[in-house]
């Protein structure tokens, strides 16, 4: 395979939380009938995690299944597996109405880690990040300031954030600003 680089390799800021570009990750968009058994098997077979409910993300390591819409799933796999896994899903779903496409290169993925992660993110996203409303296992498609974004929590203090690759620099700069150590909020 040719030399492949993520959107902002090595980008890192240690502030109120630790912001890092998380490198390459395999991402597969799967559209179809989310209630269908065949689709369930195909998705869970590739990701090796339970099928998520509405608004949920089941992520373990580099694998995961994220609920994007009533007819759309985002499948996370190691980057090197994405093309092959996409093809495997397409084969498994042959004859059913679906769309599967590898979007690994269309995205950037950041992590925001630390006890202040919720309040750092809450400076940029209108979603309710109170621990009663958003916990590991949940997934939000929303925005960070003016950029479309989605995120979930790897653990109680770590967010994984995906955004479009072309906006990687904008999103990183946003996160750096929000993680300004001189601007604690003290809400969560």
């Amino acid at each position: 395979m040719a030399e492949t680089t993520s959107a902002l390799p090595g980008a890192r800021f240690d502030g109120a939380v630790l912001i890092e570009e998380a490198g390459l990750r395999g991402m597969i968009t799967l559209k179809g009938d989310l209630a269908a058994t065949r689709l369930h098997s195909a998705a869970t077979g590739v990701a090796g995690v339970d099928f998520p409910g509405q608004g949920e993300a089941n992520c373990v390591g580099e694998h995961g299944l994220c609920w994007m819409a009533p007819d759309e799933l985002l499948i996370l796999v190691p980057y090197a597996r994405a093309a092959e896994d996409s093809a495997a899903i397409a084969t498994a779903l042959a004859g059913t109405h679906h769309l599967v496409t590898n979007v690994s290169d269309a995205r950037v993925i950041f992590t925001a880690a630390g006890p202040a992660a919720r309040e750092v993110l809450a400076k940029l996203t209108p979603a309710d990040l109170h621990p009663d409303s958003f916990r590991p296992g949940q997934f939000r498609r929303t925005r960070l300031a003016q950029a479309p974004a989605a995120y979930w929590m790897r653990d109680a203090e770590t967010f994984e954030i995906i955004a479009f690759r072309s906006m990687a620099a904008y999103v990183f700069d946003l996160l750096v600003g929000a993680a300004n150590p001189a601007a604690p909020v003290g809400r969560y």
Partner: protein, 1007 residues
């Protein structure tokens, strides 16, 4: 003369002096002072000049309602005009300057305006600025406009940073007085998620100043204990220095947190704008005291009675040594007693009421203060400061009964609940005649999407209780409001039991709108209602005489309440005067509209992080950095930045563009086309769907082939174009314009989701998955074959075909398409491989003379070929038929979006402007957008036109100007010569020709 008292001041720390300057003069305040209290402590009562008449003005109030004490603070990058001294916390090194005076605060030439006052009355803007016309430019604008104003806008870039923060809460309590504190306590005890915000730095509101008694002692211990208990709760967020700025539909609230105003510093945000979703909102926003309208009530030293006691109790500052109190209610007696306690003189209390009963007046009398019932002020004596008052009977005509020497006047016309936040989202008000005030109408609360009320007023903001504005009422209504808010958010809630409060019995108030009742017209011309905008009783009365009946019209005509304080002190008094003049009851006249923000908030806070590099997202392609490092002269396209051209040492932009075109035509060029939209459309009905989306037939396109397609709106107008590639039996890849990707994807989804939901089609916008480069020019194939990999010969991959394979080890999809007319391959690779592939093309292409080219070279080359560009040849009013694109409109299809619209008579009119090429006779370049001059004049008396230029360039290939344009019946007029306009120059002649200027048979691209 004002000054600091030897003792007292619960908010100041006498051990910590703080230096600051006022108009360059060094002064000393104390930690905990506001700028206003510090100025008064330094004997500085004069703080500015009024807006219109440049009258000397002093501090009137102690909080957000202050109309006069607006100062410019800081300098350079921290200069900020119109800062209210009463809400500006003092810090070391604070620089403050007064505004709206020239040459100095003490001596001001603009005060001449006061002599012109008979010309500056109500509606003077409308009357004077109308006529004579020449005066507008030469007199009114330069002279009068100049003299009326606030602080000048700063020139330097703001040194500070700002941020936003989002919060979702069950119950937002606005106001941290006793009502707000107990409301938060009630809601929090029920388990609701609570946020409590308070605009000042201190909790407890007026309770401590007003001598509230809770559980047998002062309010302070209860306030402290309650605040601590709330802070300890996990479900409560306490935010001092945070003002509820606006309440909007659906419980959306903007709150303005001032983080560093009291302690300016680099690197920390100055303000934070909260965007709060609250399921229920408790407005515990208190009340504001009303001034009284008597002659000379705007002189420095005349202040609200409550403010005078605020300064004594909170900051140990007195407004004067001898204070006359003028009132129509019992509350002002608290000021008299406070002043007495502080060892200051109160020569008299002038009470407009004929009968003065109540516990507080009794106490005042018992302590030896002279109480004059039925009395008022005929006139305040003094020119630039209070020297005394002329006393009269309130019921009379202003005949002076005596004069009392004093240096301050404390006035109280009663209290108005702060109903602003209740009113913002539509809460209605009801008139309370006993207390002469508007209060929230509990039966007409603002309602949310579910039809249920979402705002609950509490404490003084809800209006007085049975015994008036008492601590007992504040505590009881706050406790219940908090519980009710919690119940409405699904919690089992019981109001916390309010602590026992002890309130003195207060006598009734008598409304007083003019003092004295029978004041002469001359006196009414000296009674200020709106201090900031210089509106007097006489102005409102004049407006009524001139026929103004609506309070909203009167407001605009007189400018009453239109200043930055939004008439917090003047509105009720003003509309009472209007009602009186019209002979109507006050509730019939009503109030003006309350609009957010409650007090002005900084532009920086509104912008938040969106400034400088983050003002707008900039989208970058995978080779953006290369472009940047190699002379890219950028052009914004949507949110993307695309290189317009790549500048080399010593080149002009024009020269660079010409070089790029020539090199591409003669050797090989390289274009970063990654920004073009790519939408994957898949499903059993995808072909049928695309036949509807495009004007031409896409369902018949065989896999492996490409077709240029046009998209129209349902109104028939061309909205986008691009090449569609059939990927497999069920999949198509649709290319869109750079700016069109998101819009066209949304357009597709809208039709799929709202109209054709039965079609089995999925779409995915995969624009960013690929880096896509066009390798263009006679050497393109040679270059790619040198890199090596898949077969790219004319036989294996003919024009308008695509294929997948590897080139130099890269995973590619290669499209044989051309927007330049040259031999051209558009090659897509996964975005992560984009930069490496670009570098490989450049290095292998070196011997072939490869050069990247930008968007302008792309434009010129497509124009040489007569290819249209969305946004140049189209403007939302152009249909494909106008552009000679009939070949791309299927005659076989029963329907497609835009088909019916294009059959309308106007759309099918042969007289429409249609696309042609334009060739100037002298070889020059036509002006962009130039019009073809027609015969005669149109209905508006303008020169008739019969066409316009849509694209125009100097063609380096042809060595002359070329253009495309839309001309009436253009294609039927080949060879005709038209005159085209030039700005500021004589028209130029151009011949109508074919729009294809170069290689009309397409031999180069097909090779």
């Amino acid at each position: 003369m004002s000054g600091r008292l030897p003792t007292g001041g619960r908010l100041i720390d006498r051990r910590l002096p703080v230096e600051f300057t006022f108009n360059g003069k060094r002064m000393e305040g104390l930690e905990g002072d506001t700028l206003a209290s510090a100025l008064m402590a330094n004997g500085q009562r004069l703080v500015g000049r009024s807006f219109k008449y440049h009258r000397p003005r002093g501090v009137v109030a102690s909080g957000a309602e202050e109309p006069n004490a607006l100062l410019t603070t800081g300098h350079g990058r921290r200069e900020e005009p119109n800062q209210r001294a009463t809400t500006t916390e003092l810090f070391a090194g604070l620089e403050a300057r007064s505004q709206n005076h020239w040459p100095s605060l003490e001596f001001d030439i603009g005060a001449l305006n006061a002599r012109l006052s008979r010309f500056l009355t109500a509606g003077f803007y409308y009357k004077m600025f109308m006529w004579p016309r020449a005066f507008w430019k030469h007199v009114y604008e330069p002279v009068i406009r100049q003299s009326a104003g606030l602080g000048p806008a700063p020139n330097a870039r703001d040194a500070d940073i700002y941020e936003h923060s989002y919060a979702t809460v069950d119950v937002l309590v606005i106001g941290g007085g006793v009502a707000g504190l107990i409301a938060a306590q009630s809601a929090a005890a029920a388990g609701a998620r609570v946020m409590l915000i308070e605009q000042t730095a201190a909790w407890g509101g007026r309770a401590m100043v007003d001598g509230a008694v809770i559980e047998g002692q002062g309010a302070e211990p209860w306030v402290e204990a309650t605040t601590e208990a709330l802070a300890a709760r996990e479900n409560v967020d306490l935010r001092p220095r945070t003002m509820g700025a606006g309440v909007y539909d659906h419980g959306y609230v903007l709150a303005y947190e001032r983080l560093c105003d009291h302690d300016p510093q680099d690197g920390a945000p100055r303000h934070r704008l909260w965007k709060i979703r609250a399921r229920q909102i408790v407005t515990a926003t208190g009340a504001i005291e009303r001034p009284l309208a008597f002659a000379g009530n705007d002189l420095p030293g005349v202040m609200l009675a409550s403010a005078i006691r605020d300064y004594v109790v909170n900051w140990g500052v007195h407004a004067g040594a001898r204070t006359v109190i003028v009132t129509n209610n019992d509350d002002a007696y608290r000021t008299a007693l406070t002043l007495l306690d502080a060892g200051l003189d109160v020569p008299a209390i002038l009470d407009a009421r004929d009968e003065v009963t109540g516990a507080l007046p009794d106490e005042a009398r018992a302590r030896g203060i002279r109480v004059e019932a039925g009395a008022g002020i005929a006139k305040v004596k003094g020119a630039a400061k209070v020297e005394g008052v002329a006393v009269c009977r309130q019921g009379g005509d202003g005949t002076v009964t005596e004069e009392i020497a004093c240096d301050a006047v404390a006035m109280s016309g009663g209290w108005s609940p702060v109903v602003h936040l209740w009113s913002h989202p539509g809460g209605k008000l009801v008139w309370n005649a006993d207390h002469a005030l508007f209060a929230p109408d509990p039966d007409a609360a603002p309602k949310g999407a579910d039809g249920q009320p979402f705002v609950i007023p509490a404490g003084a903001a809800a209006g007085p209780g049975d015994a008036g504005f008492t601590t007992t009422h504040a505590l009881a209504s706050g406790a219940e409001a908090g519980a009710e808010a919690a119940r409405r958010t699904g919690h089992k809630a019981k109001a916390v039991k309010p602590p026992m409060a002890d309130d003195p019995a207060e006598g009734p108030l008598t409304p007083v709108w003019v003092m004295p009742q029978g004041a002469t017209p001359e006196a009414r011309g000296k009674m200020w209602l709106d201090f900031q905008n210089d509106v007097k009783v006489s102005d409102v009365e004049q407006a009524a005489r001139e026929g103004y009946q609506s309070v909203e019209h009167t407001k605009r005509y007189t400018t009453l309440g239109m200043a930055t304080d939004q008439g917090k002190l003047s509105n009720i008094n003003g509309l009472a005067i209007l009602a009186d003049s019209l002979g109507e009851p006050i509730p019939e006249v009503g109030t003006t509209t309350f609009r957010p923000p409650y007090t002005p908030i900084s532009m920086g806070a509104i912008g938040g992080e969106a400034r400088g590099a983050l003002f707008q997202p900039v989208r970058r392609t995978p080779v953006h950095d290369w472009h940047e490092a190699n002379g890219a002269h950028w052009e914004p396209v949507g949110h993307w930045r695309r290189p317009y051209t790549f500048l080399r040492e010593g080149e002009s932009v024009e020269q660079a563009v010409q070089r790029e075109v020539r090199n591409t035509r003669e050797a090989v060029g390289l274009l970063d086309a990654s920004t073009l939209g790519k939408i994957l459309v898949r499903g059993p009905d995808a072909g049928a769907f695309l036949d509807m989306m495009y004007t031409n037939m896409m369902s018949t396109l065989p896999p492996g082939r490409c077709r240029y397609g046009l998209m129209c709106s349902e109104n028939g107008f061309l909205i986008d174009d691009g090449v569609v590639a059939r990927i497999d039996e069920e999949s198509w890849l649709c290319h869109t314009t750079t700016g069109g990707a998101d819009r066209i994807h949304a357009h597709m989804e809208e039709w799929l989701q709202t109209e054709w939901w039965d079609m089995k089609v999925f779409t995915a916008n995969i624009t960013e998955q690929y880096a896509q480069f066009a390798v263009v020019g006679p050497e393109a194939r040679n270059l790619l074959e040198d890199i090596g990999g898949m077969d790219l010969s004319a036989e294996a991959l003919p024009f308008m075909h695509w294929a997948e394979g590897q080139i130099g080890g890269f995973d590619t999809r290669v499209f044989r398409i051309s927007f330049s007319g040259e031999l051209s391959y558009e090659i897509a690779v996964p975005a992560g491989q984009g930069r490496a592939f670009w570098d490989r093309l450049l290095s292998v292409g070196k011997p072939y003379g490869i050069m990247p080219y930008g968007t302008e070279a792309l434009h010129i080359m497509r124009a040489e070929k007569g290819f249209i560009m969305i946004g140049d040849e189209t403007d939302g009013t152009v249909i494909p038929q106008d552009l000679g694109l009939n070949w791309a409109i299927s005659k076989k299809k029963a329907d497609f979006l835009g088909k019916r619209a294009q059959e309308r008579t106007h759309m099918a009119d042969p007289g429409r402007w249609q696309l042609v090429g334009l060739r100037t006779l002298n070889g020059s370049v036509l002006e962009d957008g130039a019009y073809a001059i027609g015969e005669g004049r149109n209905a508006n008396g303008q020169q008739s036109v019969e066409g316009r230029v849509t694209s125009t360039y100097f063609s380096p290939t042809l060595g002359r100007g070329i253009a495309m344009g839309l001309v009436r019946e253009g294609p039927n007029r080949m060879g005709e010569i038209l005159q085209f306009t030039r700005i500021g120059a004589a028209p130029v002649e151009a011949r109508i020709v074919s729009p294809v200027f170069y290689d009309p048979d397409g031999e180069r691209q097909n090779g």
